[in-house]
Symmetry: C2
Subunit: 511 residues, 2 copies
């Protein structure tokens, strides 16, 4: 993924009522006289009450520190911003009320800037999560964080700095300042959530994998180091369980999966893949450690979806056709291309249902101690090393797709359903948006349903973060979702090992 | 003042109901199982609800950071401490709930350690306010603070460090830890209040002398840097006006002056002296810049009330008798001694009603360009320099006592009363406790009422801080007092200059 365009939210209806949690009020206060003894804050509160019938019980301490000089500089006319019964900001007249939503992914951080009052989207952007230097997946991050308090602190700071950079960049795009960001929402998996809030991780890393907290939290932005308006709050969406976080809640919310009768499956594919199954309005969820293979990680010529990445592959009569992002010369292969290649290799019989590569195929060669399939040869690459799919790559992909399919199967069994009963499969996440569903079915990553039952919705977690940014009602709905989802721990499923082994086979009819 | 004993609160009845704002609950939680997905915080909240019918809506973020490791280390049995609907601490079973009250004076910081549940006093102590290095009185502190942000920050830090040192020392006295201080109250004048909270001071220093805020505030202790339990709050008592702060509110509260019908005068004598007059249940207040003279400041041989200070003086037939603190050889003269000396000099006719010293008296001599009265001669001091009262000292004391008396007279006039109408005069503050009221009347500092109308109550501000520490009801009462006191700005009194000039005369019948 590069830049904002590719993470734009698609396929999600947003017809809900904007119900802002912070509101600005134009206030005019009379300058103080010697005959009065009340404080500046009290006179501002009284004006809010008289001019807008708004009763504030509290004022943020940092706002209090700014109030007296500001109201004088602004000649006693300004905007007071109120959240519940607390005054959280004081702004110059005409200033905008900005809101920030962050989807804090293990691999990527997506940011959205909105107008808090109108709900309008103003700017969007993304950065790689710099925590990747401390480990590619959740488990390695947690273990990195548990090495020392200093390391834990660096891990938090690195994500935070990226969020601050992203926020400043989004504000710069609309020639505004992060000082006008008055509220933020952040969604992420439970580990990202805990690292950002500096919550303990030990109990999350060990069975029974317990979050420090699952409920939604409103924390002062300054308490986690977010460089926005001094009195602003961050609303952290609720977690469901140790490995099903607020990003999954946000996805269920924005796709309206929680309102469906079902049977429906909603999954968010990433380094960790969370799957929910809705049946008769009841939701059960699992978490699968799918790893970074479909994001190009642990794949010899794998790369992220950037210009020059092969994103589509066809194999016909021993010939390979492909498309690259930006129509450039190929430099590697990204997730959707890897999935296509695997499906084509299986369909063409070059890889069998156990994942073993046929050594007799003209494009398969031995390299070192393993076989590899040549996708783009040295000649075509003008002497540069070829782009290949190795036997080891196939194994990595089998583990990844097997993990996802295991999650689906365990949920089906827990709900006494067969895949054929499923009416709709919602696929969220950047990778999920760009995959060819037919390819995913061909290798058995997804169950073999007719293609019209699948809905690819893009970054639905980010969309949920945006919805909760501008709606108090949606926050309550998110909390209700988190509270009602039943979590199924894969390790407690009696047939887990058997299901996982079977899920690694290739082919559409593995179950 | 040295040590705790001398600031012990005397003469104040404390028969009110202890009504704690924080309460501990013994909680036992079942260890988590794989079949559950809820967080540690949610399980603790549920246990509180089930075992004590206490519903917590929030948990402090810092407490959340400690919760998971602590509950495991304590084998799921512990104390949860709740304030309103927020869990603010988690303690080992049997830990005590400590509370800290601070009277943040311009010159001295008094601290009290209490048991929050029983209300019992556990330890008491005092330190000099190290801010004195930045100026002796409020005005010089404000101007020092406004020189630079760094200076303002140092000023705040110096008071804070003293409070932290005091708190740690009080806890050490009872072999406990400041980590168990779960709530604090702080009273002080408005400038001290603003400096501690890092609120702006510019508008306080210039007419019309406006506080940034007057209402009581609950701020997280960590937000001002107080080293107590991580989730603890500090309750800052409300201010009345720019120069009448929470210490005066606390005094009115603890002396029950606010409940009196009057006519009654309640005054807190210090570097700044605040005076309230109660008439028919209505309270009006003024503030007088009395300066440090009665604390030994700006007086040639003045000193604080420490061992060796002359605290009582009699002049009979040209002979001087005196008493010192600790019956030691005299090394200087403290506030109550200075007051006595002045009264005796006036009564003996050595100083006239304009404050001029009689050059013909045997103990009066010319030294440099001014006269001085020899209290303790060189011979008696075995060759050391004599202890004297200079003409300049008399002038300083006239300004100080004149300021106080002006406050009283302005309030009487504003309420259409004469001093003879006053039923009771409450005198609070360390200096006020030790003065000889007859001496104060003799020089015209206090009006010439019969001595039984005066009540010397010691550190009533500190007592108010203690009462509000252990009673939510007393906090509401304090807020109500602050809201109903009518502030009279001396500068707006038409006859202020005339009254002040007259107040500087010596003698009991100056009005």
């Amino acid at each position: 993924m590069t830049g904002a365009q590719r993470i734009a939210v698609e396929g999600v209806k947003t017809d809900f009522v904007v119900d802002p949690v912070v509101r600005p009020y134009q206030v005019r206060v009379l300058p103080p006289a010697l005959s009065q003894s009340s404080g500046d804050a009290e006179r501002v509160m009284a004006a809010l009450d008289q001019q807008h019938h708004i009763h504030c019980a509290r004022i943020d301490t940092d706002v209090l520190r700014l109030l007296s000089p500001r109201v004088r500089a602004w000649h006693w006319e300004f905007q007071a911003v109120v959240r519940d019964d607390e005054m959280i900001a004081i702004q110059h007249r005409g200033s905008r009320q900005l809101g920030l939503s962050i989807d804090l992914g293990t691999t990527k951080i997506a940011g959205y800037l909105l107008d808090l009052v109108s709900g309008q989207s103003l700017a969007v952007g993304a950065l790689m999560n710099p925590q990747i230097n401390y480990g590619e997946d959740i488990i390695s991050r947690i273990s990195s964080s548990s090495q020392s308090a200093a390391q834990a602190s660096q891990l938090q700071a690195s994500a935070l700095e990226a969020i601050n950079e992203l926020a400043a960049g989004l504000c710069a795009k609309i020639k505004n300042s992060a000082d006008n960001i008055l509220e933020a929402t952040i969604v992420g998996n439970t580990a990202m959530h805990h690292i950002l809030l500096r919550l303990p991780l030990d109990q999350l890393a060990k069975a029974p994998y317990v979050p420090a907290v699952t409920s939604s939290l409103d924390v002062k932005a300054r308490d986690i180091g977010l460089a926005v308006s001094p009195g602003a709050y961050v609303h952290m969406l609720p977690n469901i369980a140790g490995f099903v976080g607020g990003d999954h809640v946000a996805m269920l919310l924005s796709t309206r999966a929680d309102e469906a009768e079902g049977p429906l499956i909603a999954m968010d594919i990433g380094t960790n893949t969370e799957v929910s199954l809705v049946k008769d309005g009841k939701i059960t969820a699992v978490s699968c450690a799918s790893g970074p293979a479909f994001e190009g990680g642990h794949i010899r010529d794998g790369m992220r979806a950037a210009p020059g990445a092969i994103e589509r592959v066809w194999i016909e009569n021993n010939a390979v056709r492909y498309e690259t992002i930006g129509d450039l010369s190929p430099i590697g292969i990204c997730g959707s291309g890897i999935l296509d290649a695997m499906a084509q290799l299986y369909t063409a019989g070059i890889v069998n249902h156990r994942g073993r590569m046929d050594g007799n195929h003209p494009r398969v060669r031995q390299h070192g101690n393993q076989r590899e399939f040549v996708l783009v040869g040295e000649t075509e690459r003008e002497g540069k090393p070829p782009i290949v799919i190795t036997q080891q790559d196939i194994r990595e992909l089998q583990l990844a797709k097997g993990a996802m399919r295991t999650g689906i199967q365990v949920l089906l069994r827990a709900n006494a359903l067969s895949y054929a009963d499923i009416d709709e499969v919602i696929i969220a996440g950047a990778f999920g948006t760009y995959i060819d569903v037919a390819s995913a079915i061909a290798i058995g990553m997804l169950p073999p349903l007719s293609l019209d039952r699948f809905r690819q919705v893009g970054n639905a977690a980010g969309m949920g973060a945006k919805m909760t940014l501008i709606s108090g009602g949606k926050r309550r709905q998110a909390q209700a979702i988190a509270a009602r989802v039943g979590y199924v721990e894969l390790a407690t499923d009696a047939e887990f090992s058997k299901t996982f082994a079977q899920s690694m086979y290739l082919g559409p009819e593995i179950f």
